[in-house]
Amino acid sequence: MPRRPTRNRQSLIARPLTFAPFARSLAHLASTYMPKHQMLGSKFTGSPSNNEGGAMVKKTLKEKNEQSESSEEEEFEGEVQADFAFFDPKADDFHGVKILLQSYLDNTEWDLSGFVDLILGQTTVGTVVKIEDDEDNGLFAVVSALNLGRYKDHKCIADLKEYLLKVCLEKSIQGDLRALLGEQAYNVGLLVSRRVVNLPPQLLPPLYDALFDEVSWAIEDEPTKELRNSFRFKSYLLVSKIYKHKNADKKSRLSSDSEEAIIYDKPEDEIFHKLCSWSFNFPFHAEQVVAHELKNYRPMGLVMAVEADKVPTFREQLRSLID
């Protein structure tokens, strides 16, 4: 077995590969960041982001910090600078990406590892977000667009198609879905976008810009005609997650109208949902950690088909949403 020289570890803090960088970095995500990709040259400082999942996550982090050794080398002072950088996916990112995609298809057993390999293999279109010079290689977000026709022979894509067709209970949509997954597959890009809960929203416009720009560059730059054409997507298929209010289907008014019918796990999904050609929901069975604010909501999967020509509108609306 090839042996590597010992790394001189100063601290005695246990750092399981995938857990601690998450926790540490989430703690650091209180505010400051600098998106290298766009070279904005300005620094942001803001208060800790306030989304639904945020409260729960910070609480568990505090407890984790209290239990760790006194020889902790990093003091949690409240605002720490974090430089996020965008990278092409590579083989090393396997574990990070796999964790982000864990509940992509609810708790079905499918060829998730194969799916991750597909994403990592496609370096021309696809981005992962990591911290610059992070020794633990923690991964915070992944986006990619996979041509359903190009990869149709892979087990993971076959599993995915089977699953989506199985959970689509709306008769009217089944036909459209079957067409997208079948004859039109060569023109469909599966848009994969997953990230950690607390990623600063300011990173989203550059992230999606990167993805769609890479798609248009691939149309020009890929070495073979077949590959170039494989990125001429006519539509994108998205599999996402929402929280639907338990009383949403009832006609009666909710006692407090401030409660929304649908809460989107990712804010850009709301924009996609408005622009999509069709969509359907499916029930989610995986065990969830439910935040107090979400106790009246049921988690559901959301599948949407968005025409490729709606992308510029999406990019624009995303920018105005975040700013």
Partner: protein, 245 residues
């Protein structure tokens, strides 16, 4: 040997199960195929028990045990404790202990003779471990990590440790444990050995991401190819009957 296991798309077999020479604990939930793989491999020889600990499924990381006993964290409910006492063989002492570091599976790695523990464990806990599990206890680190229960997995025949363990540490640990050790990975390069692997003297279970190389290392260091479960369990039974008489 069981490989290619998945618990709800997670390859971390050692998180959702606990395997010893006398019993096997499996988490509730996941698919039936997870449980049935264990049943198929072990069913005739040792009991396979479905349980939760403290209402969670991460049972492999919360408890520590061997053929003599099972130690549970203070978060274990009374019903779970009773269920385990009822389901496990009588000679296995099931004990709930009050330890601040409640993820006992991460803090303690043991076989039937020796245990390695987290350096900050309470003195009372150390005594409990020695008492209930019938082992000699050593406070150690593995590759500079205090979570010895996460970064190494060993049986009475061999052990696998964190890939960055130095040769000196490897020799030292091997002398303490009196078994051959190898530094390696599980589940396609993961360093958290005990999360991806669960092993006893005649069989092992690992996640579906484990590569062929990793599998062959496991089979060789734990000497699984020649292992005969019935011989081992009968040997255990004989020695127990001797001491009872």
């Amino acid at each position: 040997m069981g490989y290619g296991l998945m618990f709800e798309n997670s390859c971390e077999v050692g998180v959702f199960s606990k395997l010893t020479n006398a019993y096997c604990l499996v988490a509730i939930g996941g698919s039936e195929s997870f449980y049935s793989t264990f049943e198929a491999e072990l069913g005739d020889v040792i009991p396979v028990v479905k349980t939760a600990i403290g209402g969670t499924r991460i049972i492999g990381r919360l408890c520590a045990g061997n053929k003599n006993g099972l130690l549970l964290p203070h978060t274990t409910t009374d019903q779970e404790l009773q269920h385990l006492r009822n389901s496990l063989p009588d000679q296995v002492v099931v004990q709930r202990i009050d330890e601040r570091l409640s993820a006992l599976g991460n803090c303690v790695a043991c076989n039937d003779h020796v245990a390695l523990t987290h350096t900050d464990l309470d003195k009372e806990t150390e005594e409990m471990i020695a008492d209930v599990l019938g082992v000699e206890v050593f406070r150690q680190t593995v590759a500079g990590n205090v979570l010895v229960g996460s970064y190494c997995a060993f049986s009475n025949r061999g052990g696998l440790v964190h890939p960055h363990t130095s040769i000196e540490d490897l020799d030292e640990l091997s002398t303490l444990l009196q078994v051959p050790l190898v530094a390696g990975t599980i589940n396609r390069g993961s360093e958290v050995i005990a999360a991806g692997l669960t092993v006893n003297d005649w069989t092992a279970f690992c996640g579906s991401d484990t590569t062929a190389t990793e599998l062959s290392v496991i089979e060789s260091v734990f000497k699984l190819r020649e292992a005969q479960p019935n011989a081992i369990v009968n040997e255990m039974r004989n020695s127990l009957i001797d001491s009872y008489v």
